[in-house]
């Protein structure tokens, strides 16, 4: 697969996403990880960066990065673009169904560039 992502084979390695300014304010972008996982990387209006799995757990579609970012009672969330379930950007917990959670990723900001990696075991 030639997808432009460096295939290090090490799932714990950091993957470069993009310059932080390339993430729309209060929006998200999707990043492809080695091994095929997808991260949805968001920036909230205060500038904090979060990364969740891009897969909407309710539909299985890789779309969360395209959702609307907002807050409720100061909890930052992204709403799935398919059916609007909201996920806490910090933890991946679904605010509309407490039994559902999407996995989140480690985020590293280095000199204005965002990196993510899968959480260790």
């Amino acid at each position: 697969m030639n997808c432009g992502v460096e295939q290090t084979g090490d799932p714990t390695a950091w993957t470069r996403v993009c310059a932080v300014d390339a993430i729309p304010e209060a929006g998200g972008v999707a990043a492809l990880l080695p091994g095929g996982a997808q991260a949805a990387v968001f920036r909230d209006p205060s500038g904090t960066v979060y990364a969740l799995s891009n897969i909407d757990p309710f539909s299985g579609a890789a779309v969360l990065a395209r959702g609307i970012v907002g807050d409720t009672d100061e909890v930052p969330f992204v709403a799935s673009p398919l059916h609007k379930e909201r996920f806490d950007l910090r933890t991946g917990e679904c605010l509309d169904d407490a039994s559902v959670r999407v996995s989140s990723f480690d985020v590293l900001l280095d000199d204005g560039v965002v990196f993510v990696r899968e959480l260790g075991p």
């Binding site: 432009g4 299985g60 909201r86 999407v102």
Partner: protein, 840 residues
């Protein structure tokens, strides 16, 4: 073997019976034959007087009354039943056919009573019961007007219907006189005190009232008529309308030996059964245990009872009826309910007569002053709905306090005071208990929801305000706030944005909201900003406000791919363009389908393919069809006079013009339109937000129609207007909607919830009563002048284009989760599993 049900009479009640049987008879056991004397399917007789607004019989049509698609119902229009042989179970019709039955229901209604005044049958004398009657009156009124000054008409009878007829004459530009034998108007419903005030209010409406006198004789004089009144007055008139009461049409029943009640009407028991097996009578022709009812709600209850017996085989009884009435249309508020004349033994009357305010209110209460028995309201009927449901029950307060304008009940009697069994909607027999449980258990949170799940409010509509109050009292806050971030309603935000010129979401929320926004307020504000022309919807920070589909100018599918719908104005397309769509779909391997909106949808494009597909489409002369936006979708057309042998105008040309005019216009919800070339209505214009139907003299404009989950027929806003007027009215209508509707509120719901309804809309849009039409038109001109194709704008902007990739760190990589299989020779998405759900 199916059994045959013959229904004689296709009025409102006969129709309700057929509907109720069809709804319950899932197995199709009954074959229903309806014998109808009138030449058109059942229509809304209660709303008959509104016919003079449009002279459009379709506006009165009852939904589904033609039973066109129901093989179990056979409607024989224009063929009255002439005889019944109850022994052989056979009905003979006027045209001579013999129709056997297993069950027979008589629903022949009433006829207007015409007193045997000499001259009552002269040309120029009419009754007021059917659409045909009104057409005849209309024709005579037009003849009378020709070449002379103001013509005049006399209505014999000052009851509820007589006053409606007087108003209709006035609307036909005749000067109306009402002659009433009793000493007051509406003698059956209201008392002397109320009658005196009513006479005053009616006189202000240009209706001349003559009470306490009879019509002794009518004599011809040239082309006109003279009515000699008992009090010696001679009234000249061009026509006379008799509205002196009704008599049950029981002649057919008499001739076949059915028992007739003492004061007329087919005598039936409380199950609506006549004395002969399998023969029932319902509606105005029936005398249930001797009593006839001249209102539609009791008739409906009888229809439901008989339908239940026919389909379940079990007895069901007519539950009795609410005979409260409210005068519609005349522009005077009059209502009476219960024992309005205090005929109950020992009944006491409490009256508040305010001549200055022009209100008269009377409550009739039991001798101990605690139970409400009835009442009369004139001039202000605000409390009618709550009071009538309280009849027979304990009063929540001292009667005088309830009536006093500034007393405890200034806002009306609280709905909390109503017991659960109180009937809130009498048209559909829905109790307060049924409504509150729909709210608490059924999760209904709006009036629209209550209508859908209980049926309340879907008849005459008079109980709708009460539904709102009940929601309030159930603690369902019908807040108008957009969401937790903005306390304002959508229309308030619109005014703020328009007034302040704020052009970004972040500034708006900083100044007028709180927090950082959500998936409700962001798209709502995005739509407002777009309606006000603040640039491309993907410009700068606008992009992340957009709802799913707007965000990528395409509709997102279940697997994360998109569909692409180019605009095909009016559904008219050249072979070259059809070929271009075919070639593009083939090249990108897209699933294609003809949509319900007369255009072509291409499905299964990945986000990175979208700009390349648009490039090809734009080069072939296409532009965005906004299938993704809360914006104008399509203006459907029929082929019209260019080809169709019935067409009377160029409907395709008009549809194309309208679609190009309003394309790209963002609105609170999507907007759909259609133009039909004649009254056959092949473009289904009456189901659209705005629909246009060609007439011999121009165009009829209908507004507020809807398909979808809660279908609604559009209302006629203007008739026979020329093209220029038509477009001006639509400009105003659409802009007024954009300014004042709630988010995601289609025009149908907006119009239903508008205070004053269609009349108010007409006064704003047609008569410019708010003085805002110039502004609305200017806003529309602005939109038209600044329209650009959204797809093309993306193609020429590298920043926007950069967002059309699956992965920011791998712009060339396709999304590995997307795959397709083949079905009926085209690709369709492979259903995705739910790989990442982790339920704790």
């Amino acid at each position: 073997m199916s059994r045959t049900l013959v229904v004689v009479g296709n009025g409102m009640v006969g129709h309700r019976l057929v509907e109720a049987v069809r709804a319950a008879d899932v197995a199709g056991d009954w074959h229903i034959v309806v014998l109808a004397e009138e030449a058109r399917p059942a229509y809304d007789r209660v709303g008959l007087s509104s016919y003079v607004d449009s002279w459009d019989a379709e506006a009165l049509a009852l939904p589904g009354a033609d039973h066109a698609t129901d093989e179990h119902v056979e409607l024989q229009l224009g063929d009255a039943a002439s005889a019944v042989d109850t022994g052989r179970k056979l009905v003979t019709t006027a045209s001579g056919t013999a129709q056997p039955y297993d069950a027979l229901v008589l629903a022949t209604g009433s006829r207007p009573f015409v007193p045997p005044v000499p001259g009552h049958d002269l040309p120029g004398c009419f009754v007021y019961r059917t659409i045909d009657d009104l057409d005849a009156i209309h024709a005579a009124a037009r003849r009378a007007r020709d070449g002379r000054g103001r013509a005049s008409g006399i209505v014999v009878g000052g009851g509820l219907l007589g006053l409606e007829a007087a108003k209709a004459l006035r609307d036909m530009d005749l000067s109306p006189h009402v002659v009433e034998m009793a000493p007051r108007l509406m003698p059956l419903q209201i008392d002397d005190g109320g009658g005196a005030l009513l006479a005053r209010l009616v006189a202000e409406l240009d209706v001349t009232v003559h009470t306490a006198t009879s019509t002794a004789e009518i004599v011809p004089e040239g082309h006109r008529l003279v009515a000699r009144l008992g009090n010696g007055t001679d009234l000249d008139a061009d026509l006379v309308v008799f509205s002196a009461g009704i008599r049950p049409r029981d002649d057919l029943a008499r001739s076949c030996g059915l028992e007739i009640a003492e004061r007329g009407g087919v005598l039936v028991d409380e199950q609506c059964r006549t004395g002969i097996a399998d023969v029932y009578a319902i509606g105005e022709c029936a005398a249930v245990q001797g009593t006839t009812y001249g209102l539609v709600a009791p008739g409906y209850a009888m229809a439901e009872a008989v339908a239940a017996q026919l389909t379940s085989g079990h007895p069901a009884t007519f539950p009795g009826a609410d005979t409260s009435t409210k005068l519609k249309l005349l522009g005077v508020d009059v209502a009476s309910f219960g024992d309005a004349h205090a005929q109950t033994e020992g009944a006491l009357e409490v009256v508040v007569n305010d001549a200055v305010a022009g209100t008269y209110k009377k409550l009739v209460v039991s001798d101990d002053g605690t139970t409400l028995l009835g009442g009369v309201l004139v001039g202000d009927t605000g409390e009618f709905n709550t009071l009538r449901t309280l009849v027979g029950r304990a009063l929540p307060d001292d009667p005088a306090a309830i009536l006093s304008p500034d007393g405890a009940a200034a806002g009306g009697v609280g709905v909390d005071a109503l017991p659960d069994e109180a009937q809130v909607c009498s048209c559909n027999a829905v109790t307060k208990g049924a409504i509150t449980s729909a709210v608490h258990e059924g999760g209904c949170e709006s009036v629209a929801g209550l209508k859908a799940c209980t049926g309340a409010g879907t008849g005459c509509g008079s109980c709708v305000p009460l539904l709102g109050k009940l929601l309030d009292s159930c603690g369902v806050e019908q807040s108008t706030a957009v969401c937790e971030h903005f306390p304002q309603s959508r229309s308030e935000l619109f005014e703020i944005v328009a007034g302040t010129g704020i052009a970004t979401f972040s500034e708006l929320i900083a100044r007028y909201g709180s927090g950082s926004g959500c998936a409700i307020c962001k798209p709502a504000v995005a739509s407002i900003l777009a309606s006000l022309g603040t640039g491309h919807i993907l410009d700068g920070e606008h992009a992340t406000l957009q709802d799913t589909n707007d965000r990528h100018l395409a509709n997102m599918q279940r697997n994360g791919t998109y569909s692409v719908v180019p605009r095909v104005p009016g559904g008219e397309i050249t072979p070259e363009k059809l070929i271009a769509i075919g070639e593009i779909a083939r090249e990108f391997d897209l699933y294609t389908k003809i949509t319900g909106g007369q255009r072509i949808d291409m499905f299964g494009a990945t986000v990175d393919e979208l700009p390349r597909i648009w490039r090809r489409l734009v080069d072939a002369g296409f532009e965005s069809g906004h299938a993704y936006g809360k914006a104008l979708r399509t203006v459907k057309s029929c082929v019209g006079w260019t080809w169709c042998r019935y067409g009377v105008q160029d409907s395709v040309g008009m549809a194309v013009e309208l679609e190009l005019r309003y394309r790209g216009l963002r609105s609170p919800h999507k907007l759909k339109a259609a133009v039909s070339g004649c009254a056959r209505e092949c473009a289904e214009a009456q189901s659209k937000d705005f629909g246009v139907i060609a007439t011999e003299r121009g165009w009829n404009l209908y507004v507020g129609g809807n398909g979808g989950a809660l279908p609604r027929h559009a209302d006629l806003l203007a008739s026979d207007v020329d093209s220029e007027t038509l477009i001006r009215l639509i400009d105003r209508f659409v802009m007024f909607y954009i300014r004042t509707a709630d988010r995601l509120q289609r025009t149908a719901r907006w119009l239903e919830e508008m205070d004053g309804g269609l009349e108010h809309l007409r006064s704003v849009i047609v008569d410019d009563s708010l003085g805002i039409c110039a502004e609305l038109e200017a806003a529309m001109h602005e939109h038209v002048a600044n329209y650009v194709d959204e797809w093309n704008a993306v193609l020429s902007d590298p920043d926007k284009l950069a967002r059309f990739t699956s992965f920011v760190n791998a712009p060339e990589a396709p999304d590995p989760t997307i795959s397709f299989r083949t079905e009926r020779a085209q690709k369709v998405p492979v259903l995705l599993g739910t790989p990442e759900v982790s339920r704790s």
